[in-house]
């Protein structure tokens, strides 16, 4: 068996794309600047040279129409990977996503399907301001019919991408673009992860941290700080919000009796509330403290370097909240 290889997150996603496009001629990539330019973050580099203009399609800056076409292409047999360059631009495709893609299987009583991947970004940290830094995974997770994957490592990115492309439902993949340069081991062979299977990132006895996307990285840094104080945290990365691996989270909380849910998007009506409520419902009798929540500020994402930092959790604020949950 081949040795594991080290790739960046971006390379891992590209490898998944190359493998799936070679395996299935119905897989096409559609988006802005994805062809000859290779993507604004070089995340589609090389695809155009190998697969050509019929399968790597540069669109005009017309997100609603172009994404609607991807939905129609999926309904009629292709498996499009559609790129929304920044998560903020999700607002432009919401009608085609929510009113068409998410409902086709239901409305057709199972006779039609929309096997497509919508890839977009999430997360702040690059001083891109209020319209290029948002994370809309909670919006999407509220819509029945959509699946939501948020890979936090190169290996997970490859495995979730391959699963998403093969899935027969619309799958949204949110990538924190500050993870693109993260390096990690990639398992050899056809690495496909099932959607709906959480990963226990770190085991610990004192408290369960459920962290979304790049928050996993911050939670790991917080775990190191806390370990020096004798606090052992368990970290769970749900990897997909829909389907959600409730069992892994609940089993962990039953062991640690405490939980803190961490997300980088604004807290109000977000995923921390949903996950915290699920824990309260399913594991109330095992809890020794109220479930904690830590998320982004309920503000637009500010531009300035000093202000932007305040708008989302980091290792330090995570550690503070863990201490609070531990009382």
């Amino acid at each position: 068996m081949a040795e594991p290889r080290i790739l960046t997150y971006r390379e891992a996603v590209l490898e998944a794309l190359f493998e799936e496009m070679r395996a299935n001629a119905d897989v096409v990539v559609i988006g802005e600047d994805v062809a000859a330019a290779g993507g604004v973050f070089k995340q589609t580099e090389g695809l155009f040279a190998e697969f050509g203009a019929n399968r790597v399609i540069d669109t005009p800056i017309s997100e609603p129409g172009a994404f609607g076409m991807a939905v129609g292409a999926a309904m009629s047999g292709l498996r499009p990977v559609f790129e929304v360059m920044f998560g903020d631009f999700m607002t432009l495709v919401m009608d085609q996503l929510v009113n068409q893609a998410a409902k086709v299987r239901y409305m057709s009583n199972g006779t039609a399907k929309v096997p497509l991947v919508l890839r977009t970004t999430m997360g702040l940290g690059a001083n891109l301001g209020p319209q290029h830094s948002q994370s809309f995974h909670a919006w999407a997770a509220h819509v029945p019919g959509l699946k939501i994957a948020i890979p936090s490592t190169p290996a997970d990115a490859k495995g979730l991408w391959k699963a998403a492309i093969r899935d027969d439902d619309p799958v949204l993949i949110f990538e924190d673009r500050l993870l693109y340069t993260m390096k990690g081991d990639i398992p050899a062979g056809d690495h496909v992860l099932p959607l709906g299977q959480a990963r226990i990132v770190r085991e610990g006895r004192d408290v369960t941290l459920i962290a979304i996307g790049r928050m996993v990285e911050f939670a790991q840094a917080a775990a190191k700080l806390l370990a020096d104080e004798g606090i052992e945290v368990e970290i769970i990365d749900p990897r997909t919000l829909v389907p959600f691996d409730t069992k892994t989270v609940i089993d962990s909380v039953k062991r640690t009796h405490r939980a803190l849910v961490i997300d980088g998007a604004p807290r109000a009506y977000g995923v921390t509330g949903e996950i915290a409520a699920t824990i309260a419902e399913e594991a109330f009798d095992w809890l020794d403290a109220p479930v904690g929540r830590l998320a982004g500020s309920n503000t637009p994402v500010p531009f300035s370097r000093s202000l932007e930092k305040l708008a989302r959790p980091d290792a330090k604020t995570i550690a503070q909240h863990v201490r609070a949950v531990l009382g």
């Binding site: 019929n54 076409m69 129609g72 009629s76 009608d95 068409q100 409902k103």
Partner: protein, 343 residues
């Protein structure tokens, strides 16, 4: 109706050339009678839905296409089985012309388990892929990119299929239309854009909300050949559609057809239409596509009133039977609530 002698073209069999009407020949008389039959079926179906709706038997709102039969059938009679359409909220006629079962369509309109969506979708969301129909649509303009997307599939698979997107004049002012026209033009997609212009977007006259004095100009600006047609004349619509479909199939790119027509029943059943002018309505009624085509059949094919009346009776019986079946059909089982949300 131009039909291949071979069964539905799923394969790489080249598209049959549309046969030119040969007035007077028996074969073409049959094809033209089929066009009449489809228009009569749509009219009878819609009037039955109207009657069911006014009796309170149709849940929600329902939008009828009585008066627009010539645009529905004229365009769809120009298509092959492998071709794809996307319809809109006033779409029963497209479904039927494309081959939908009246029983299943009516069952869906009444929210019954036997319907195309299992009773979960209703009139505005009838998806019938078996007949190349991406669906009626509750969002104005929503079907336009879907049809264009099917054209991307046809291009990727080199299938030779042509897509048609139907939309009303209301969608002329949706940005989606202009985005899709631009992309269809740059990629030379095999798409025919068909605007069924019935003069009103919901309850508002097109002239009140539409700038410029030329609708075709909205296609021409993208280099798309655009044409205004008498949408009450099924043969004129069919002729224009055949030309556009043939061009698209040969790789000639998109076309834009504006079919001027009229909806008899208002925006939805129950719309009092007090915003319409009586004289205008009367003038449009005088152009009713059914008697008009009947007169043409009599003149050019010697088809008498009795033959057409037989067709009228046959479709009336078919619709009556669909009404009966749909009314007696069971409601969806409670287990249908969360079925097919995911695969």
């Amino acid at each position: 109706m131009a039909k291949s002698k071979k069964p539905a073209a799923k394969s790489k069999i080249p598209a049959p050339k549309p046969r030119k009407p040969q007035p007077g020949t028996r074969q073409d008389s049959a094809a033209f009678l089929a066009i009449y039959r489809q228009m009569a079926l749509i009219r009878a179906f819609e009037e039955a839905v109207r009657s069911l709706a006014t009796s309170g038997l149709v849940p929600g709102l329902v939008h009828l296409c009585s008066g627009q039969e010539a645009t529905n059938v004229g365009v769809i009679s120009a298509l092959e089985p492998r071709d794809i359409i996307a319809s809109h909220h006033r779409g029963h006629g497209h479904c039927l012309a494309r081959g939908a079962e009246p029983n299943l369509l009516l069952a869906e309109i009444l929210g019954k388990a036997a319907g195309y969506g299992g009773g979960r979708s209703g009139s505005m969301h009838v998806i019938d892929l078996e007949h190349g129909n991406l669906g009626t649509n509750g969002i104005v303009g929503g079907g336009i990119p879907l049809a264009c997307g099917a054209a991307l599939t046809a291009r990727a698979r080199n299938s030779g299929a042509v897509s048609v997107c139907f939309f009303g004049d209301g969608a002329l002012n949706q940005g989606l239309l202009h985005e899709c026209m631009n992309m269809a033009a740059i990629w030379k997609l095999a798409v025919v854009f068909v605007c069924e212009n019935n003069g009103y977007g919901e309850f508002t006259a097109i002239d009140d909300v539409t700038a410029g004095d030329s609708i075709p100009a909205r296609g021409e600006v993208f280099g798309i050949p655009s044409k205004t047609i008498d949408g009450m004349d099924v043969l004129a619509v069919r002729k224009a559609a055949l030309a556009a479909v043939t061009k698209a199939r040969k790789g000639g790119g998109p076309s834009f057809l504006i079919c001027n027509t009229w909806r008899y029943g208002g925006h939805h059943v129950g719309d009092k239409q007090d915003y319409k002018d009586d004289a205008e309505a009367k003038a449009w009624r005088a152009k009713d596509p059914l008697p008009r085509f009947a007169a043409w059949l009599a003149k050019h094919h010697g088809i008498g009133a009795r033959k057409l009346s037989n067709i009228d009776q046959t479709v009336a019986a078919q619709v009556a039977s669909a009404v009966d079946a749909a009314r007696r059909a069971p409601e969806p089982d409670s287990s249908a609530l969360d079925r097919h949300v995911y695969g």
